[in-house]
Amino acid sequence: MGKYWQILKMRVQIALIYRGNIVLMRLSGLLLLTTLLSMWMSTNHTGQLGGYSLNSLISYYLVGFLLNSMVFWFCTMRIKTEITEGSLGVNALIKPISYYGANFFKELGWHLFSPLMGVLTLLIVVGVSGLRPEFNFTVLSFVSFLFSVGLGSVLFYNLSASLGVLAFWTTQVGGISSVMWMGVFLLGGQSIPLSFFPDNLRKVIDLLPFRYVYSFPLEIYTQKVTNDELVSGFATQIVWIAATYIVYQLLWKQGLKKYSAFGG
């Protein structure tokens, strides 16, 4: 575990050096948040919107903004670069560490810093705009929320890493990675809550992994899930984590068989 701890420490230091990039990313998220909140508030709607009051919808987006810095991982392109540029050999294959684990801790270094920036930005937004996220939690529901965020985060890491190792075959993975982001954007509830979808479509969406990355934690936060749905939601998150991990390992092992690196 000590070697992963060293990787984590090193990546936290790197994250602190490139803090400007994290600020830019939060700023980008803030612009999207501004658009969505302004759009909903300009509707002047007083009733329920897809089962949400305007206040709980605002909470959905405000907490969603924070979630962006917690559940999303950006390792796909780094893995792709290491495979296509040949540095995979030096970075992983000759070291006594798991590539999956090393990447996880590399990303975790950034992940420890990014939510702090997210909280700070959110506090500024709340202070300036006067908007307040609803906060009517029990201890159990708050722990459930955090647990679902953790599971969603691991699930998204598995998805990103699996797409990254596709570079053993395809060289470029930007396009296919974009498909995953599209999935999270619409079918994961990043653009609008999933309760806006027709019921028959919703049944299909509930089977896909995207909901369990982003929407499910927010549904817990906004108290849209019953106790039964909470248990089945956690179970589905764990099943998807296991399934994507198996897919990653299969791709990794098959990819290594055909991998060749050049250079000294």
Binding site: G20, M25, L31, T35, T43, H45, T171, M182
Partner: protein, 268 residues
Amino acid sequence: MLLGVNMMKYLKVAGAFYRYCLIRLLEFRSEFWTWSLVSPGWGFLSLATILLIFNQVNDIAGWTRTEVVLTSVAGSIFMSLLWWMVFPSLYNFMELIRTGGFDFYLLKPINSQFLVSVSRFEFDNYLRVVIMVGLLIFLGLTGYITATLASVVCFVVTIFFGLIIFYSFFFIISTLAIWLINMEGIEDFFDSVITLGRYPTYIYNGVLRVVFFYIIPMAFVATFPIKVLLGKTGLETVVLSGLMAGGFLLASHKFWLFALRHYSSASS
């Protein structure tokens, strides 16, 4: 005559870069075809989001469903054109600053701002432009838009001036690389800025409305072009967009010359 010769030289240089980028594209054909499918997908996602929202509300800032759909389509075209002709060169410029390759651009006997601005083109979004323009034509033919030939021409001209405004705006931000060196992550920021303009700008109130109308003129992304197309505003908006485009272009050039005086090479 001299102006004509100069113009030809500049067009030839831009054409040479364009051909070079097309040849580069052939190296990664599978990625190109993947993006050809993915890119229109993003446009459709925005439309799907709007349609789902309008299942719940009657209007957004007083704009009807058709008007908001049109704004999103125009915004999608605008974004695709930026990705085609503007962003790739700006990202390439920032990379050149970081790696020291920018020196070579300064040595060439041609306007350096022009050279860095036409150095890269990306064609991934061509199908999205075709589909979204096709959608506009379809909406026109089926009676959702009542436009005249004059309003269509004014729409195209307003989009063109909008592109110049935002080329200049993003060029000024990219030029900050001369001081900041590493601007990794700026792609997402540029993308998000344009996203602000893909809904009617009237959704913003108070300070935000002032900022997005007058400081970062988001209305020129899609709101004004669609108003022009629908005949809700006339030639005065086209003239205003032309004046704004001229002002922004001039400001970007002045800032460029100022920045170059502070440039110190990263290479040896």
